[in-house]
Structure formats: structure tokens, C-alpha cells
């Protein structure tokens, strides 16, 4: 489960503090839950996603991710926790020197999965995102939509316990957007906790679920 208690986040360093981007955020999300994260640009959605992905640590409050209190964890234990979290970035963040296949395989390789299993699982993901024929292509040679599908495949291939998706359908046409949302929904039904940040209100209407709304770094509504 995920729990935030009065979490605050400020960029910069203690000696040169930057702007406050999240303030007094509190909510909880049970294991296997689904939550939309909405709000205007600059509201702090991506910062909150990065906090949940353990890329940033809060300056204030308490953050519990997958039942682990980050304030009580050693830094050396964080990589193992990160491997249980899948993240789809708004800007894809694929490795340009690896093929689509190797990008998708990376989380499994980091988890030391056997190569035979990796080959099967990655092939299945490539089929799901309809990129089987582009397995050996490098990201710079893929379209924006194709790169986004590779990024989604990479995030879900390891069957993470928590899936975070920041505008996962922003570069996809309607058909692909629906298909990828169905994939996220399927994972959620199998027990994965899912948080999806989006501007796309029509997508939220098509897949009704509880929603968090951020404005100016503050949580203004929690449907739960």
C-alpha cells in the first residue's frame, strides 16, 4: 500500500533551497487500487510521481511505498524496492543505444531473470504493444507513439507491484490509447497498484476510477 502523511517536497539543496513544489500532501492507496492523478500543468503531478518512484525523497512528512517507510530505509535497500515499481515517463526515457527489445528487457535483466524467460516475456510484451516487427529497432528510429509503447512495455514487463504512468497516452492515437489503458487495467485486475497522471479528461471518463487532484502543489480533492 501507499501512504503519504503531510508530505512536502522542495527542490534544491539545504544550503540553496529551491521552490516548494508539494505541500502537505496526505492520502493513501490500498494494494491493488487504481487512482487517476489530475491537475493543470505545473501542479506537481510529475513531482509526486517521482516521489512515489523513489527518485526524490520528501523534505517533510512521511512516505510509505509498498508498505516500506522510506524514512526508515537504508539507501542500499532502495534499488530492490524500485525494481517492484514500474514507471512510464512522459518523455519515455528510453536508452537510445539499446534496441526496443533490450530496452524492454532491461528491468528483467536488472532483476537477474534467466535469458530464456526474458526472451518469452519481452516477446509477449512486444506483441501486446504491436511492435514485434520493431524489436531490433533503436528508439531514435521509432515514432513518438512507438517509443511510448516501448516505454509502457518496459514498465509492465516485470509485473510490478506498483505501476506509475505519467501521461502514458499523450503520444498515442485513440485506438492505441485505449489498448494501452486496457493493458494497465488488466495489470490492475491482477493486483498491481496503478497511478496514472493525465490531462486527458475523456480518458478518465472512459475508465472511471477514484481520482486525486493537485493544484499549486496541494491536494485539493481525493475521491476516495
Amino acid at each position: 500500500m501507499i501512504r503519504l502523511e503531510s508530505v512536502g517536497l522542495r527542490y534544491g539543496t539545504p544550503s540553496r533551497p529551491g521552490p516548494l513544489v508539494l505541500e502537505d500532501i496526505s492520502f493513501s492507496l490500498p494494494a491493488g487500487g487504481f487512482r487517476w492523478l489530475q491537475g493543470p500543468s505545473g501542479a506537481g503531478k510529475s513531482s509526486l510521481m517521482r516521489l512515489l518512484h523513489l527518485e526524490l525523497l520528501p523534505n517533510a512528512g512521511k512516505l510509505v511505498v509498498l508498505d516500506h517507510d522510506l524514512g526508515a530505509m537504508r539507501r542500499d535497500d532502495l534499488p530492490a524496492l524500485r525494481r517492484q515499481i514500474g514507471m512510464v515517463y512522459q518523455d519515455f526515457r528510453l536508452l537510445p543505444h539499446l534496441t526496443a527489445f533490450d530496452n524492454i528487457a532491461l528491468p528483467l535483466r536488472l532483476a537477474q531473470a534467466p535469458e530464456s524467460m526474458i526472451a518469452d516475456d519481452v516477446a509477449e510484451m512486444l506483441r501486446w504493444v504491436e511492435l514485434t516487427k520493431k524489436a531490433a529497432i533503436y528508439p531514435p528510429e521509432l515514432s513518438g507513439g512507438e517509443q511510448q509503447r516501448v516505454a509502457i512495455a518496459r514498465a509492465v514487463v516485470g509485473r510490478p507491484r506498483l505501476l506509475l504512468a505519467d501521461e502514458p497516452t499523450g503520444n498515442l492515437d485513440d485506438t492505441q490509447a485505449l489498448r494501452q489503458m486496457r493493458l494497465l487495467g488488466e495489470l490492475n485486475r491482477l493486483g498491481t497498484t496503478v497511478v496514472v497522471a493525465t490531462h486527458n479528461d475523456s480518458l478518465v471518463e472512459r475508465f472511471p476510477a477514484a481520482s486525486l487532484r493537485l493544484e499549486d502543489g496541494r491536494l485539493v480533492s481525493d475521491d476516495e
Binding site: H53, L54, E55, L56, L57, R75, D76, L78, P79, A80, L81, R82, R83, Q84, I85, M87, R93, L94, L95, P96, H97, L98, D102, L106, P107, R109, L110, A111, Q112, E115, R154
Partner: protein, 303 residues
């Protein structure tokens, strides 16, 4: 963790490391010369020390002056009398009188070629090879002075002490250069590693976010840097070999006296034979651990 040869971070094409093998080659070359210089100086110092400790010179002023005849004995010069005292001495392995021409030849560099040595009152010289180290030269001096007043026996300690000081200083300088070269090599590896980290910042962030531990990222950088440095070390060693060969030729006369025993001279330096071929391995290991520590320190800035 995963196939160690897999280039997940794209380090194989890292531009910042193209210069690394050449810079490390230069450092390895200098290190090889420093090691060679230090070992040669050490060998020469040891050789001089061993030779000097077992040699001495007896100087006999007015060597041709006859001594008063003793009873029925033959007429003897002061030089003959000193030789007669020295030859039965069991502490002396060799007593070798130097002919006046040899003494003149030794002194000519100081006195000049035009000087007529026959007009000079040169002392007689007897070279002694001692049976062992620590023979009492004062006692020998007293014995020769008893038959030829003014005659003295001298060891070469004062000269050898100066030569040893020179050789030891050269050795210390060579080791200091070796230390400095090692520090510069470490600095070069740190700079190359930091350049690599800056160039691959995004890839590191991605892999770190996917759950790669510090050891995974650090070992990939370290292996790549160590491979580049190892190639540099090999190039530096190969470049240094002919120079070290020349150094051995130059030092051969100081060790053997004939100037021809080149292989023998190198064979006298087993440390050199071990140290120089080890350079690629040492540079590789040094680079590996330097890069590991640099990357791990840098990664501490990430959560």
C-alpha cells in the same frame, strides 16, 4: 547481475575515453622508466658497496728510496719492504702493486698530458683485495708505516659513501617520480570517469530508476575504464622496453666492468623483469578501483 559484457550504459561509444589509453600509456612509460631507473641505481649502489667494502689501497711515499740493509739480507726499496709485509698477511686475498706507468695513467686526467711524470715524486700504489669485509686497515697501516714511514693503507669508504649517496638520491628521485606518475594517472582516471558520468547522466538516471544498485553501475564503468587503461599500460610498457634496454647497456660497465654483459645485467634485475610486464595489469587494477570509488561517490548524490 545480468551479462557483464552487456553495454546497458552505452560506455563502449563514450567519446570522453578515447584519450584515456594514450594518457595512461604516457604514464605507464614514465612509470617503467622510473622503476628501471630506481632498480638500476639500486643495483649499481649494491655493486659499488660490495666491491668497496673488500678493497683498499696502500700508498708508499718515495717508493724507490732504498732502506738500510738488514744484516745479510738483500737490498730493498721502501716499496719492496711494504710488499714483503703485506704478502704473507692472511687477511689479504690479493696484493697487486701498480706499475709507475699505471699510476701515471690514472693521474694523467688530473695532471695533464704534458706533465712529465718522471720529474714528479709519485707515491707507490698497491691495490689490496681483502679476504673479507671488516679487515682492520688501521693495523695494516701501522704495519706498513713501521717498515716505510709515511706509508698508509686506506679504504675507499669516503668515496664510496659519496657514490652511494648519489645512487640512493637517484633511486629516491626515481621512486618520487613513480609516485607522482601514479598520482597523475589516478587523476586522469578520475577525470575520465567523471567525464563519462556527465556524458551518460541520463542513462545512469534511467538505469538507477529501474532499480540498478550502485555496484552494477560502478562495475560497468570500472570495467570499461580498466580495459582502456590496460591497453594504455601495455602500449606504455612496449614503448619503455627499448629504453630500459639502453639503460641496461649504459649501466653494464658499472656492474660488470666489461660493458659487454648486457643480458647478464638485465638478468641481475629480476625485480625489473617482474615489475615492467606487470604494468598493464597494475594500471588496469588501479584504474578499476579508482573508477569504482569515483562512480560510487558520485552515485551517493542520487537517492
Amino acid at each position: 547481475m545480468t551479462n557483464k559484457r552487456r553495454d546497458d550504459l552505452g560506455l563502449r561509444r563514450l567519446l570522453g575515453q578515447e584519450m584515456l589509453p594514450w594518457l595512461v600509456a604516457a604514464m605507464a612509460f614514465l612509470a617503467a622508466l622510473s622503476i628501471g631507473g630506481a632498480l638500476e641505481a639500486q643495483a649499481v649502489a649494491r655493486h659499488w658497496q660490495a666491491g668497496a667494502a673488500r678493497s683498499a689501497t696502500v700508498l708508499v711515499p718515495n717508493p724507490d728510496l732504498p732502506l738500510p740493509r738488514q744484516g745479510d739480507g738483500p737490498e730493498m726499496t721502501r716499496f719492496d719492504a711494504v710488499l714483503r709485509v703485506l704478502r704473507p698477511n692472511i687477511n689479504l686475498a690479493q696484493v697487486r702493486p701498480l706499475a709507475p706507468e699505471d699510476v701515471g695513467r690514472l693521474l694523467r686526467p688530473w695532471l695533464g698530458a704534458d706533465t712529465d711524470l718522471r720529474t714528479m715524486h709519485l707515491p707507490g700504489v698497491i691495490a689490496l683485495r681483502l679476504e673479507r669485509e671488516g679487515v682492520d686497515l688501521d693495523k695494516i697501516s701501522r704495519e706498513v708505516a713501521a717498515v716505510a714511514p709515511g706509508a698508509t693503507a686506506e679504504g675507499h669508504n669516503a668515496w664510496i659513501a659519496r657514490l652511494l649517496a648519489l645512487a640512493n638520491t637517484l633511486e629516491a628521485c626515481a621512486l618520487a617520480v613513480l609516485g607522482l606518475v601514479t598520482l597523475v594517472a589516478v587523476a586522469v582516471v578520475v577525470a575520465a570517469t567523471r567525464a563519462g558520468l556527465a556524458a551518460r547522466r541520463e542513462a545512469i538516471d534511467i538505469v538507477h530508476g529501474l532499480g540498478a544498485p550502485d555496484s552494477y553501475i560502478a562495475s560497468r564503468f570500472a570495467r570499461r575504464i580498466a580495459a582502456s587503461a590496460g591497453i594504455g599500460g601495455l602500449l606504455g610498457m612496449l614503448a619503455a622496453l627499448p629504453v630500459l634496454f639502453g639503460l641496461a647497456v649504459l649501466s653494464a660497465p658499472f656492474l660488470d666492468g666489461d660493458g659487454l654483459g648486457l643480458p647478464h645485467t638485465i638478468a641481475d634485475l629480476p625485480l625489473l623483469l617482474a615489475a615492467v610486464p606487470a604494468l598493464p595489469v597494475v594500471t588496469s587494477l588501479l584504474s578499476y578501483f579508482t573508477a569504482q570509488s569515483t562512480v560510487r561517490r558520485w552515485l551517493r548524490s542520487l537517492p
